[in-house]
Symmetry: C2
Subunit: 289 residues, 2 copies
């Protein structure tokens, strides 16, 4: 059983309409508040050799990326830290604070607990103009499918390409790009942290259309053999880039470096070069029921 199957089993307990986006959305005066929470911990989420500072940075970046994926600007972060050794707390918090500063947010609260395993849960709050918010649902046939950055680099670092190590360990959420894409009229968006293929399937799940991408259009990690780079681009996790759809007359978007990798089609499905693309990517897996 994986985390998606597990989530499906409790969705009835989540407020109707809130599930299925990178953030929950709540009214906040004439703005919308977006809010999201992420748990990361040593055994399953932190690559070996990562410093505490990088763990804190990553914990914050993961959450800020979800805010960026709504076209929103991050405002505040809360950090709940379970630490095995007290001396680890300060560098974790310094990394989280640095990431917040970099993207215009502030740490406003949190909790500290003793824990057998270093565990960091970040909750992020952002705001967005209701006319500029971008959700996962909204793609229309004919829209272009775009992606920021080069997919597969984080996974490449895990598989022995050290030139991508900083990309893996200190991800840079696409905050400015997310906001600009929202202003420009992107119709759907999410981040690619679970990998491109799985993210396309996630968009498919909440839209009544299909996603057809072309392998020849995929940006590929440099200095990696082409077939491997293509596999990493499709199925590798850990990138915090944005996957979006946008009408052709709204693209390119000033200030946003992005590649068009395909097009939204009328018939449901996720296609690579015309053939079904499997829903493989990153998932937490439990071995027993």
């Amino acid at each position: 059983m994986d985390d998606r199957a597990l989530l499906a089993g409790i969705l009835d307990l989540v407020d109707r309409g809130q599930a299925g986006d990178d953030c929950a959305v709540l009214p906040c005066g004439d703005r919308l508040l977006v809010v999201t929470t992420d748990m990361v911990h040593e055994a399953t989420d932190f690559p070996s050799g990562m410093t505490e500072w990088q763990m804190g940075w990553m914990a914050a970046a993961v959450t800020i990326s979800d805010i960026a994926a709504m076209g929103a600007g991050p405002v505040a972060l809360l950090v709940a830290a379970g630490v095995d050794r007290p001396a680890r707390l300060r560098p974790v918090m310094e990394g989280a604070a640095a990431c917040c500063r970099r993207f215009g947010a502030a740490i406003v609260g949190g909790d500290i607990d003793r824990h057998r395993e270093l565990t960091v849960v970040t909750t992020g709050l952002g705001t967005v103009d209701p006319a500029k918010i971008v959700r996962r649902r909204g793609s229309r046939p004919g829209d272009l499918i775009g992606i920021t950055g080069v997919p597969g680099r984080a996974q490449a670092a895990l598989e022995g390409y050290p030139q991508f190590r900083k990309h893996l360990l200190e991800p840079q959420p696409r905050v400015a790009e997310g906001i600009a894409l929202g202003v420009a009229g992107a119709t759907a968006m999410m981040d690619t942290s679970d990998g491109l293929a799985l993210s396309l399937h996630d968009l498919q799940a909440v839209n009544d259309c299909g996603y057809a991408i072309e392998s020849g259009l995929l940006p590929l990690a440099a200095e990696v053999p082409e077939a491997e780079a293509r596999s990493l681009a499709l199925f590798g996790g850990g990138d915090y880039d944005l996957l979006f759809t946008i009408p052709g007359d709204r693209f390119p978007v000033p200030g946003v470096e992005a590649q068009i990798i395909g097009r939204v089609v009328r018939e449901r499905g996720v296609l690579l070069d015309g053939a079904p693309l499997p829903a493989r990517g990153f998932a937490h897996v439990w071995e027993e029921g």
Copy 2:
């Protein structure tokens, strides 16, 4: 080293002005948004014999209590759950959802992760009229010191008094009372989850006055020998009641069952029957640096 000492070492990384209350406070149109996060996990926070449903209820209640302590109404909860066995997730979430429903909030999002130890982090959002918010800072000499409920009952359950077990395992945050106290003009408020003595010291730390309580005014747990009941009332943790200060002409507050246990005095300090009350209570403790 305990969690308070550890917190002191990272306070410079938290947005100035946000530390030292039960919740962070952010602008939200013509309302204020209050937001708080709490980590609970099996080894240190859940009494033995607790069901998963109760763990979920408690995780939600702890957070909703922090919102109540600001005089705010809970709106939304996010739940990040790290689970060792997938079958445990559903009852945890059902307990959290039941607690949310009971107090007018909804679960709007969350995260699921595989974890060696069941770990639940709840983040709560509430809103409050800026004129009705109650912070920890604000007590004035002459104010009455009040408390809802009977302190020490949760700790009594832990120490062998089964009649308080439901109070320990299914805490009822004082949402209606918190809102009513804010409307009535309470000058300072916090919840008593770390125990009454420690909470009085927490108020002391952010106010330029003193807190003088009288042992004869303390409500005591029934069917517990008096000396033990008094000790539990002062130093026992796990109650989710409200400790507040309020001008004498604003008390009693309709709909709020509370006891006056003392008075705010000019000189700094926390006094019990005129003698210093030690700052003992609940804290997470680490054995090494």
